[in-house]
Amino acid sequence: MKAVIIGNGAASLAAIRSFRKYDKKSSITVISKEGGNAYSRVLLPYVLRGKLSYEKLFLPFSDKLDSLGVTYIEDEVLSVDDAESVLKLGKHGDLFYDTLLIASGSKALWPPIKGICQPGIYHLWTINDLNRLQIEFSEKKEVVIIGSGFVSLQAAWAACSRGLKVTLIEIADRLMPLVLDVRGSGLMAEQMSKFGVNVYTSTITEEISKREDGKFFILLRDKENILADFIIVGAGVGANIDFLKDSAIEFARTIPVDNYMLTNVLNVFAAGDVAAGPSVFGDEHVTHALWPTAVEMGKIAGANMAGQNIRYDGSLNMNVTQMFDVTVASMGKFNDADIDDYYVYDAESGKGYCKLCYKDGLIVGICLVGTSEAVSLLGKLRPIIRNRLAVKLPPAKLDAFLNVRFFQK
């Protein structure tokens, strides 16, 4: 059997490991557009901040691909002929597969702002972005960050840690809506201000232009304009699936997959940022574009490509990082529209701002702007949320319950 995987990110590596667990013999071919060894996208901000050295970006597993019987092809996939089970590659011609995994990941998108596409304006999404930003960070003084997603804030923290003057512009009325609830966003904004970051929310960027002195001039609607030496933009991501255009593989913004990571085509799987799979909350097709979800999906896909029949019980969104001296983390549903009850731990709990969220009597999520110790509560809650277990205890007793529970199995 010939297994082919498009992409070499988190989902791809998890799939390879998992595939090899069940099938030691069949060939695996990995096709990657981005050259070089597989690296960890989520670590880019840590390298930028100087917390982690550059070489630590590369996954140790990636240089062992040979020993796992993986053939690596650096090339672009032009199209998929699903009827014949053949990939058309840019340089390497046709490649036949018995089973295919699309794990080609996503790319950062440019927002519709006039003047956004010019040198000196970056994403923080690829190793190339990192390389170029490293130069800017060491040479320049003022950065404007447009967007306030997870990566944008990490970029802001990196810049701030390295002594740059940082301004953050967010079009919405609060920061990180996918990671934090309203109060958490507010706390985060306060915390960033303490570190000297200028935070602009509800702010529309009209146009970016470069002045003769090399500085960027950023025109804001109804607000005073600002200047910057360079700009980092975080405005969401889109799946790398252009090559699916002429195939029968169903897709929209991402590729819908079932609980087995299977697309509508019988021998084609998808996982990671390109895939829209089931969630633990019963959604049929959700794309998180998150590292842990990619790992989980890849694991399922790899096993099933090797002939297993393992069912994914759905993804659960989770985020965590440390920035501006607080730990930011969340899991599941925490925005007021998605929940019907919540509990905020008091100061004595030592957790910081920690909100436990309920819907229909079940714990459905949690969000945190607080201490590292509190993160373990999220970890312990994961199986509770995943398995939709009812906990009929006051939240203050939850920690005790979660620890005792383990031994009662």
Partner: protein, 169 residues
């Protein structure tokens, strides 16, 4: 492979394990925050729960670590974190369903039990016998014996009751 087993029916929460763990890790203090094993006493629940890394067969922390800092020590079978590779992203803390990964706020890296390279000090300091470092088969054997004892006691009890019944007739 040997694992640390935890018997909640014996733990009294004396915390000698925590003190020893904190010292072997920090080399200078027994403060609890430096300990990888944590004992919690829940008085209302009448429960004392010692918790330390179980070195899972299929560790989710290891799978999810984006920097490949979590590996398995081939000698001890311990799931270990390499400080120098850890980015401090806390993904592993979020991943662990038992709360057994902790954060070193000074080094800004995750920390966990590494089985003290095959000589776990927590076990050597467990004066109650609740912690053991043993082959998992031995643990299972002990557990089986415990259940057998329960059954035999139950049987005795039932037989006694029956005797009384028959005498009563």
């Amino acid at each position: 492979m040997k694992v640390i087993t935890l018997d909640t029916s014996k733990c009294v929460g004396c915390r000698n394990c925590e003190l020893a763990c904190a010292f072997i890790n920090s080399k200078e203090t027994c403060e609890r925050k430096f300990s990888m094993i944590r004992v919690n006493h829940y008085i209302e629940e009448h429960a004392v729960i010692p918790m330390t890394c179980l070195h899972c067969e299929d560790p989710w922390c290891m799978a999810v670590c984006p920097s490949g800092a979590i590996t398995r020590d081939p000698e001890t079978n311990a799931v270990i974190i390499q400080d120098e590779k850890c980015a401090g992203c806390k993904m592993c803390i979020l991943a662990c369903p038992y709360g057994n990964i902790h954060f070193d706020a000074e080094l800004m890296v995750s920390h966990k039990c590494n089985l003290c390279e095959g000589n776990p000090r927590c076990v050597g300091h467990c004066i109650s016998g609740a912690l053991n470092f043993e082959e998992i088969e031995d643990f299972n054997e002990r557990s089986r014996k415990k259940v057998d004892l329960e059954i035999s006691k139950y049987m005795k009890q039932t037989c006694k009751t029956q005797e009384v019944d028959s005498n009563g007739k």
